[in-house]
């Protein structure tokens, strides 16, 4: 709070890096078997099967996109109907004012546009992006996680988290490196 904000470093988690996706999968399995709950992995490519292990199956994004599309359709249709029949009712060649087949192209484009906004900004929003500095970046080995290393992280929010024990446990997984990640408030 204010001036007295607690900025002392805290534990964010413990990370271990592996050379291949297979090793990462095996290590994640071991961490889950050992009873850790708050586990995440970081990799340069999507690793198949890791979300199943983490029991991460989110359907929110699909709904955001769907409602985005719905909002787009409603906006497009309302805009066309209101301008053509109320705001600027104009007789063109004796065509009916509510000539809905003619409204279709714009309606369709608006649907796609809003749904695409939903998919893109929904994805960013759910991931908590943009946030150029993430606490996990405090671990030097994370620099390789976007290149050629596969990283397992047991987060400090886990009820069983104890820095020493977790580091010991990580070493039994046969990793390349193990690091403890510290963070302070605001980072």
């Amino acid at each position: 709070m204010g001036l007295f904000r607690d900025t002392a470093p805290k534990h964010y988690g413990t990370v271990a890096s592996f050379l291949t996706p297979e090793q990462l999968l095996a290590a994640t399995q071991r961490a889950k078997d050992a009873g850790f709950r708050d586990v995440d992995t970081y990799s340069p490519i999507p690793v198949e099967g890791v979300c199943e292990l983490l029991k991460f199956d989110e359907t929110k994004l699909g709904w955001i996109t769907f409602f985005g599309g719905l909002a787009g359709a409603a906006t497009g249709l309302w805009l066309e109907w209101w301008t053509s029949t109320i705001a600027y009712a104009h007789n063109v060649g004796g065509k009916p004012l509510e000539s809905w087949p003619m409204f279709f192209p714009v309606l369709y484009e608006c649907t796609i546009l809003f749904a695409a906004f939903g998919a893109t900004f929904g994805m960013l929003g759910l991931c908590g992006l943009p946030k150029p500095h993430q606490p996990i970046f405090n671990a030097p080995l994370m620099e390789r996680a976007s290149q050629d290393r596969f990283v397992l992280c047991i987060e400090a929010t886990d009820p069983n988290y104890d820095p020493k024990d977790v580091a010991e446990f990580m070493k039994t997984l046969n990793p390349e490196e193990v690091e403890t990640v510290m963070t302070s408030e605001g980072y």
Partner: protein, 480 residues
């Protein structure tokens, strides 16, 4: 499918990053290939590379473009060749041509993604960039064709003091919505695809500036399993949204013609015929750019002969659809029994009496005859032949629009309104100017952004090496 031919040579995660990512991070990669001959000697020694040459040529033509726009804006669109009866000319021809070129990018990134075609990975980033710059070129034309581009926002619906709204029954307003949506969605899709690669570049960059800029562009991408999950989800949905968008955009562009009552335009085959033509022209442009760039930047391992073979096959298929379209136009004209349509047909094809038969027959030559060589596997494997056939397709598709526009407009119902369309030097300046602008933007893109999707190549390589390992195991077990 033989995946091995999608990436050749020995790689690992890090060397893939190096080969593709360092094109951006290491300026020396741009001076490796040298311009040969006299032209090379004329260039300063440390800039004797194709990159500097093309960016230079592009820059000159960007200035030609700016000059032609200045002349146009100062004088009015009378400096163009379009006048009664041909109110549409180079502006709409080039608009449709450029939009078409853009379509291959979306097709490669969206439709091939949905169809799980892994060969798209090597060329999608490149083609998507092409889409964006081609749509930029396309957008300039209708904007300037309004004659008063500074009030172009009148095309959009917004509450104004005149209480005027766009006429939603007009295909031209549909165009505004279609093209601006297309541009926006293409940029979103492209940017989303770039995020993981920006993260890789952020972590590989040695300079502070690079780290900061790529860091900002990466938006804080960590590569967390949850990020990847949502990322894959979003890409599939964006692809699902873009695929029908491609089809709708060019269909709507064709409605500009098809909704009219002008002979030769008012036909229902226009939407599919335009879409196929767009893919045809788009793939041709991908090949035209990919052949030299692959050589200059030593990307032969990632854009293999298999890729060219498949692109050529897509071109062959869409070319046949387009050829069918030409056949159908002739058939309609005859079968409809409408004298105006039949007259138009004769005006297109009659070598002796039609003023435009040269355009029609060049179209057939460039779009039907030359691409027919793609039936031969030897031709598809020959990069020189492929390059020139793609050039021929680009020219042919331009002629297609040329044949459609001035021909119908200068020969409609009344002989008193017959005329002849002659483009002016400003028309040509603007056309070549946009080509220069496109090249300029493409080469800036090649310099500053990864032109091949790095993480997708790593993923592909990972799957390939896996399959190889499994095959080895199986072979070893059999031997025992």
């Amino acid at each position: 499918m033989n995946k091995e031919r999608l990436i050749t040579g020995d790689w690992d995660y890090s060397s893939i990053d190096g080969q593709i990512g360092d094109v951006v991070l290491d300026a020396n990669r741009h001076t490796e290939a040298k311009v040969p001959g006299l032209l090379g000697k004329l260039m300063p020694a440390n800039m004797r590379s194709p990159w500097f040459l093309i960016i230079g040529i592009g820059f000159v033509f960007v200035n030609v473009l700016l000059l032609s726009i200045t002349i146009l804006v100062l004088t009015g669109i009378g400096v163009w060749g379009n006048n009664q009866p041909s109110g549409w000319g180079f502006d709409i021809i080039n608009f449709v041509w450029w939009i078409g070129i853009g379509h291959a990018g979306t097709l490669i990134s969206a439709i091939l993604l949905l169809l799980r075609q892994q060969w798209r990975n090597s060329i999608n980033r490149f083609a998507e960039a092409m889409t964006i710059f081609a749509v930029m070129c396309a957008g300039m034309y209708p904007l300037l064709h309004t004659g008063r581009p500074w009030v172009a926002y009148w095309l959009f619906p917004y509450p104004n003091v005149l209480a005027l709204w766009p006429q939603f029954r007009s295909p031209l307003v549909w165009d505004v919505f279609a093209v601006s949506t297309y541009m926006t969605v293409s940029i979103l899709f492209w940017y989303v695809g770039l995020i993981p690669d920006f993260a890789t570049l952020r972590d590989r960059a040695k300079s502070k500036v690079g780290r900061v800029l790529f860091g900002m562009a990466a938006l804080g991408w960590t590569g967390s399993a949850k990020h990847w999950f949502r990322y894959n989800h979003a890409s599939i949905m964006l692809a699902g949204l873009s695929a029908p968008l491609v089809l709708s955009v060019h269909s709507i562009v064709s409605f500009d013609f098809a909704m009219s009552i002008v002979p030769g335009w008012n036909v229902t085959i226009f939407p599919p015929y335009f879409v196929a033509g767009a893919v045809f022209a788009g793939f041709a442009m991908v090949i035209i750019l990919a052949i030299p760039v692959r050589k200059w930047y030593r990307l032969e391992a990632f854009i293999t002969m298999k890729h060219f073979d498949w692109m050529a096959k897509v071109m062959l298929a869409t070319g046949l659809i387009v050829a069918y379209g030409y056949g159908m136009e002739v058939f309609y004209a005859w079968y409809s029994g409408v004298p105006y349509e039949t007259a138009l047909l004769f005006n297109r094809t009659n070598l002796f009496e039609s003023p435009y038969s040269w355009a029609f027959w060049s179209l057939i030559l460039f779009n039907v005859v030359f691409p027919a060589f793609l039936w031969f596997p030897k031709v598809r494997q020959n990069l020189t032949a492929l390059f020139w056939i793609s050039m021929s397709v680009s020219i042919g598709m331009w002629f297609e629009r040329y044949v459609i526009i001035p021909l119908s407009l200068t020969r409609d119902y009344l002989p008193s309104s017959f005329g002849y369309y002659t483009p002016t030097i400003v028309d040509f300046a603007m056309f070549f100017g946009t080509i220069g602008f496109f090249l300029f933007m493409m080469f800036l893109f090649i310099r500053f952004l990864p032109m091949i999707n790095i993480f997708e190549m790593k993923e592909l390589w990972h799957h390939m090496s896996h399959e190889k390992a499994h095959a080895h195991e199986a072979a070893a077990q059999e031997a025992h």
